[in-house]
Symmetry: C2
Subunit: 940 residues, 2 copies
């Protein structure tokens, strides 16, 4: 008989075609799907280069991106390992293959170490010990089968001859062919005998075989006479024999003698048998890897932490300390961050790199929901708790990507009055002590930046007052090794002054005076120092009383750190360069010439950015149920806009986002909180924060409680530390219904921004079903898109499940978001629009001072900034005692201040304390460390 | 013929004996060596329990610790994986074995996941895919061979029959026996045929075999007639057959029929063949693992970073930014820290847990060397640079464990005058921007703690001034739900007042007055606020000028943050509980009754400890050459003791330490720096820091420069920013020799503490060989144990190699360290001893004020504290202009202050600035961020 030729070239082509079609089909759904193969080569051995070119050609043919990484032949194993590991970590790469041999100085151990530096998931060559282990085991399947052994099996299968039950002989025991082929045949139920150089009676053994696989590396090793008639012969040998008829003088042959063709039933030719198959199966491995990695990368599966819910809800710190958070590295992985995108700060906090925004730029943002509240009582109505509880419900109970974005609390109140942790009951951010203390140091960095600017400002005034123009100039622009040069920031100032010179020696005395003398009017200084401590004695101080300051005293003040404009800048910035610009643009005073003096005029803008460079990265923490929380920035809700950062929201929206090809049930949710009532927090969120970010919210959740609504309906005063009146603890539908007007107005206001409105009725244990139902009905009647009772405080995410479902249902479709006013309107008109449309005032009344300021800002070019109203949170009006839904009042505008760096104007409507104090019995009395465990006790 | 019986029981016993002896031998050298095996069992299957008991018995016999971890049968794979991972991470455990099967609900994939959760390095069972992969490969050896397959080979080897070249048949293809046995035989050069249920002609195949391994699980499967006469038969079968003669009604038999005993040359019985061997080989695996892990754990191999040294030394920040630091996790691993002992703060900084002190308590400390200097010029003589350079030499060039322990610099000067980074040139701490900025926030935490105490103090005075005794008391001890209770800290105060009551209602009006009214004399307040900013206008301020403070103004001051006593406490504390006590004991003022008022009297000691709880963990960074640096605490070198922390030194000494059995060349070195000249930094190091720590230094390195010595010899004034006079840049042996008296005296002083003295001559490029040689000779003449020229600034560690070798040679043997004075001496006498012995004064002159203070402190019980002299660093005397080696002067003591928490008294000898200022052209002008890379530019 004449053996049938097993045509590897044709089979390989069909495999390549198949891979090419699969890739196209996948890309039709997901255009960003792109398998990529990287081959690492040390040096430039011609034979290796030839193999690599073959792989490159096949890759191009099937649509796999190919990347040839060449390292010097002299590279050590350690150096190549570094390269290989980096490639393994690159999420765009589907397969990493190290072309052997490496340089002659790399020994077998080194080579193995390099091979095993490829992560098993990208080991398309299949030679990692982990994959070989699975290949050799009966109970497991490897992620990848090495290509040549796989080719042997495919070729055998192509013949239709049964492997199972056959007698197979494998000649050779290399790790590349013999051993894995034997394992593959064994797992396919052949009875395998493996022969090698030490085998005594090979001929006799081969003669028994139904299947012969020759991989011994010796031409014509297997004679036709050895082969059992009708056997299948796979020839893996690659040997070159002299052949004068060839141009190269040699010819490629296998291990099997030509006379076997007359005996075997099927036989592979050399060339044209196993050879072409290997590359084709490599392509298949790369494709399979790409699909597996694609699916894995898109898994965003948060593993919830189980909550042990007690009937009687314990204290916040007891609940928080009873839960063991997951390592933040695990959380990050679960939500789809790469290891390089995380900077751990201890085990449970991390900063997230802004580079994630570039990596996920292709994604469509997730749904964006702002959590606001009705006009609150002084006890607060659970906005933070609802934000966290809703995130727990979406993330841990409905399996959706869900991110809570909250503000970092000031440390001051932590030791002053208790309260202020994010959330409460079974809806909290943990570890709560870290959350309430230093976190990752952002507020400290803000403090440092703020105070460096303050110190620089006073020092500059002092030095200007005690030096001549010439002395000042020669110190500001000193001669170094005989040369004078302006610092880059000085050129900025010269430009501002209209002086077009770059050589310090060219300045006229007049220009020197203009340049070197900021001539700050100390009376106009608006820049306070800050501390993150409740220190009432610093509210107003006299500075410079030491003799070294030569009598240059002045009155000044300290604010709590979060009231610093630096914090507002952090919250509103969009990247590091933008933050640098904003910090430099902050106006701290006016010169006697009427010029606005900025941080950059003082030379400190760059240093402020350096101090705050790490603050720009959002902080990652988690809820009690192990879902992600971004804690980032915490600007004062009064003189600033009171919203957490744009950057955290943006990153969360990308992490919650989807890409082309994704089904809609993959979309995630970002819950961000606006400080104070919706008339403040949500209005500023929409008109200031979204204006800077360009983001469009899909919905607003307004948190309401029976307590606050009853207060608006005429209930007695609610005071912290005093017992609640009966109205609040017993059913009172009349008072409640009256107070629902407050809710109604917040709903109407929200609608003016074109967003969906969901009312979250934050349930208290004393609420009656009739009361809850009344609120629900009133809310729907007022136009709310949904109104849901939620019990997350007592039940965690499970208690907010209905609310979460309502959020999902309501957020379908596109956002109809719009701003309330046009930035180009005159300042006063913008103020008036907010007062009339949101507060329902009859109008505004500008003080003379305010009118003058508006004139100045307009002249200085600050007229087109948005407005950040500094108003009480306890009423729609400027008067905290006007409860419920007042109207017709006139809003007095006492003054208007400028945050030029943050980018808003803030009209002042009343007295505001920017530095809290400590009472007689501050919270710090109970705070301490457990001496045994070192854990914090007594905090909340 | 009758087969020879292969007696597994005897061979197993000899293996066990061998293991037992090896363990004993190892323990004779290293008493702490203790192999440990853990077996994890799910549920309580009787057969599994029997196997585990056998393992426990064998372990006990050979001296292996045995640990049986039982998880519920219902445990999920994920739950068991958590347990297994934790055990894998436990460094006391040598081997982890999961007893299969798991619960019936755990499928094959789950079982494999559990098996592979054991780290390959502890996989004594040998079934991890990684180990199986290596077992199946020709080019690799597994860390562990599975025990039963290993037993088969051992039994074969015991017969003396050659495996190589033999024909072997393995019956069975299980992952536990058949497959690994086939791989092992193949790697020993047998020609292996593997048979299984699908093999057609087993009988015929077996008949060819020289070696038969039966693992098919069927009694009497292999007939005597199948066996080739003279073959070796290993029977791995475990089958039970009915046997009425046995009590259990059954009998254990193998896979081989009894008639084979007449045919084979050697055969294993069942029982008594493979069975006993398996457990013995498990013991061997555990022992081997223990040895390997022991050696690995003791590897403290720092992989140096290569330095690219330029001929012309670039700026500090250029050098620093050009080096890519290693990840801090890698550094920590290299120096022998466990993952759990590290808290990363970003990629290149970490905090180290104090628990490492417990783990390494058995180690003898490494060598302890304090780096001091001669009396410096205002430019500084390179003490930090020498500390870092020497650490680089020891660690990166001599391969010794070497730790630099340095202070964290204040952020204030970073933006004021340039300079202050740790080290310079090619001897620096990196990343240098992180080092000079926030680091891990310790200084910020100190600031927060300091200022909370200040705010609490002023608030208390205010509330006392505006409230009646009764009002005050009822607010301090409010009624909560009808009950009044003292906070724990209040009980401390009551005790101090001698009031033995615990019920607030029991206090008499007089006691209420004593308790509730601290009655602080505002004139006596010594507690300043602090900021980490150079802010001269805060040196003296008037507080409380806001109307809300009702006219309760007072004069107060701000210091730079590192001058806070909280910082001195951090530097001197020995653990968290100690720190808590010290913080509470800090005295802030005196009451009008003459009582010392402490932080705990104000109720804030616990809160201060909470704010500073993370500061107590030393910060880990690295040198330019990748060796470890602890950066921890930075108390002012003047009004405090100016040394880095005790805790960092302690941890470093343990990490550099050795244990019983170690050879002396394993010992490591800890280099810690004392601020200012040796008369200040070293004296305080010895008398204050070592007194608290109980540590004994082995040597002091005194850094000298030609520049400073020439200045002492009469050279012109050296002023920062001004060019140096010729004396300093040209050879001048006369002036230099004259100035060497300063060096001589520092050497004599060091000897008084009983430590070795090494002079490091910090080379400048303009130094001449004759100058350097002159210093060397003078130093040796003065009694120095060594004097070495060092060029680490220009060459990194390579430049300090000779110095490092001298340190190693000099530190041989035990330390002869002693204190300079006895704590029980009267305060004035202790001051006098320092002034006479170290400064060489004729005597001291106490002001009247100082005498009174000494009286008060003695009466209050603070008389036995050590003395922390607040003196200029520019002279041995109190007068900075007295250069070289003055004597005979009288030291005036103006006043003596108390740091009751830190635990020292500090006599004031002159004016000291505790808040630096900013000049006309502060360093911040150049500081900024590169907009492309986000990296810091212009810092130093």
């Amino acid at each position: 008989m004449t053996a049938q030729i097993i045509d590897g070239t044709i089979i390989a082509k069909s495999i390549r075609n198949d891979v090419a079609q699969k890739i196209k089909a996948f890309q039709a759904q997901y255009p960003r799907f792109q398998p990529q193969l990287v081959v690492v080569q040390a040096g430039e051995r011609p034979d290796s280069s030839t193999y690599i070119r073959m792989k490159a050609k096949a890759a191009e043919e099937v649509g796999i991106k190919f990347n040839h990484v060449n390292v010097p032949e002299a590279a050590t194993a350690d150096e190549i390992i570094q390269v290989v590991k980096k490639l393994s970590d690159d999420e765009t790469i589907s397969g990493v293959l190290v072309q052997l041999p490496l340089g002659p100085h790399v020994d077998a151990d080194g080579t193995r170490a390099v091979t095993e530096a490829v992560c098993p998931e990208k080991d398309v060559d299949g030679f990692h010990a982990y994959n070989i282990g699975h290949l050799s085991s009966r109970a497991a399947s490897p992620l990848f089968v090495p290509c040549t052994p796989a080719a042997v099996i495919r070729l055998l299968e192509s013949t239709g001859v049964s492997i199972a039950g056959s007698t197979a002989v494998v000649l050779g025991r290399s790790d590349i062919v013999g051993n894995p082929v034997a394992a593959l045949l064994r797992s396919r139920d052949a009875t395998v005998t493996q022969c090698h150089s030490r085998t005594k009676n090979i001929e006799q053994i081969v003669r028994q075989a139904d299947i012969v696989v020759a991989a011994i590396g010796q031409s014509a090793f297997v004679k036709g006479s050895w082969v059992k008639p009708g056997a299948v012969v796979i020839d893996v040998g690659i040997n070159f024999v002299p052949d004068a008829t060839k141009k190269s003088g040699q010819r490629l042959v296998g291990d099997v003698d030509e006379d076997a063709f007359a005996v075997a039933s099927h036989i592979t030719p050399v060339p044209g048998g196993v050879g072409p198959m290997t590359v084709a199966l490599l392509m298949e491995n790369v494709y399979n890897s790409a699909v597996r990695l694609w699916q894995k990368a898109r898994e965003r599966k948060i593993k919830p932490l189980a909550l042990d819910i007690k009937e009687k809800v314990p204290s916040d710190i007891e609940i928080a300390m009873a839960q063991i958070p997951k390592p933040v590295t695990q959380l990050a992985k679960e939500m789809g961050l790469l290891p390089d995108e995380l900077e751990s700060y201890g085990k449970f906090k991390a900063k997230v790199e802004l580079s994630v925004l570039d990596r996920l730029a292709h994604r469509k943002d997730g749904k964006y929901i702002v959590i606001a509240g009705i006009t609150p009582t002084p006890l607060g109505e659970g906005k933070s708790t609802t934000t966290i509880g809703l995130a727990q419900a979406l993330g841990a109970h409905l399996g959706r990507p869900a991110f809570a974005c909250v503000r970092q609390p000031s440390q001051g109140p932590t030791f002053g009055i208790k309260g202020g942790a994010a959330g409460g009951g079974y809806s909290q951010v943990i570890p709560m002590d870290e959350f309430n203390l230093h976190l990752t140091g952002d507020i400290h960095a803000v403090t440092a930046a703020n105070n460096l600017l303050a110190a620089a400002l006073d020092a500059r005034i002092f030095h200007e007052a005690t030096q001549s123009d010439k002395g000042l100039f020669s110190r500001l622009v000193p001669s170094k090794k005989g040369k004078r040069e302006f610092a880059p920031l000085m050129l900025k100032r010269l430009k501002k002054l209209g002086i077009d010179k770059t050589n310090p020696n060219d300045l006229t005395p007049e220009e020197i005076n203009l340049f070197a003398r900021l001539d700050i009017d100390a009376e106009t200084i608006t820049w306070n120092r800050v501390l993150d401590t409740n220190d009432r004695f610093l509210r107003k101080v006299t500075l410079g009383r030491n003799p070294t300051e030569k009598g240059h005293e002045r009155e000044a003040g300290f604010d709590i750190a979060v009231a610093s404009e630096c914090m507002a800048v952090l919250a509103l910035t969009t990247d590091l360069v933008d933050m640098r610009e904003r910090l430099g643009n902050m106006v701290v005073a006016t010169s006697k010439r009427g010029e606005a003096i900025t941080a950059d005029d003082i030379g400190v803008g760059g240093a402020l950015a350096v101090l705050m460079k790490d603050t720009v990265k959002p902080n990652l923490m988690q809820t009690l149920e192990g879902t992600p929380v971004f804690v980032h920035a915490g600007p004062f809700a009064n003189i600033a806009h009171g919203n957490s950062s744009i950057l955290a929201d943006r990153i969360a929206l990308k992490l919650a986002g989807t890409e082309e090809g994704d089904s809609s049930d993959r979309v995630g949710y970002v819950l961000t909180e606006g400080g104070f009532g919706a008339d403040m927090g949500m209005e500023k969120f929409c008109n200031i924060k979204c204006r800077v970010s360009g983001l469009k919210p899909d919905a607003t959740v307004i948190v309401a409680t029976t307590r606050a609504l009853k207060m608006h309906g005429g209930g007695p005063e609610v005071t912290p530390g005093k017992p609640l009146a009966d109205t609040y603890t017993k059913e009172d539908l009349v008072t409640l219904k009256e107070g629902c007007q407050n809710l109604t107005r917040h709903i109407e206001n929200s609608k003016k921004f074109g967003v969906k409105v969901i009312i979250a009725i934050n349930q208290f244990s004393s609420d009656t079903p009739a009361e809850l139902e009344l609120i629900r009905r009133e809310a729907l009647a007022a136009g709310a898109d949904a109104a849901i009772v939620s019990n997350h405080w007592a039940e965690g995410g499970a208690g907010a499940r209905a609310l979460a479902e309502a959020v999902i249902a309501t957020c379908e479709g596109e956002s109809g978001f719009r701003f309330l006013y046009d930035l180009n309107l005159p300042i006063a008109q913008k103020i008036e629009i907010i007062c009339k449309e949101i507060y329902r005032a009859a109008g505004i009344e500008l003080s003379e001072h305010a009118s003058k300021q508006i004139e100045t800002y307009t002249r200085q070019g600050y007229g087109n900034l948005p407005i950040c109203m500094a108003k009480t949170q306890y009423s729609f009006s400027h008067n905290p005692s006007l409860k419920n839904a007042p109207s017709g009042f006139t809003v007095p505008i006492r003054e208007v201040r400028l945050s030029a760096g943050a980018g808003f104007l803030y009209p002042i409507l009343g007295d505001m304390q920017t530095m809290p104090g400590l009472g007689t019995r501050p919270g710090f009395w109970e705070v301490g460390l457990d001496p045994q465990t070192g854990r914090v006790v007594g905090l909340f």
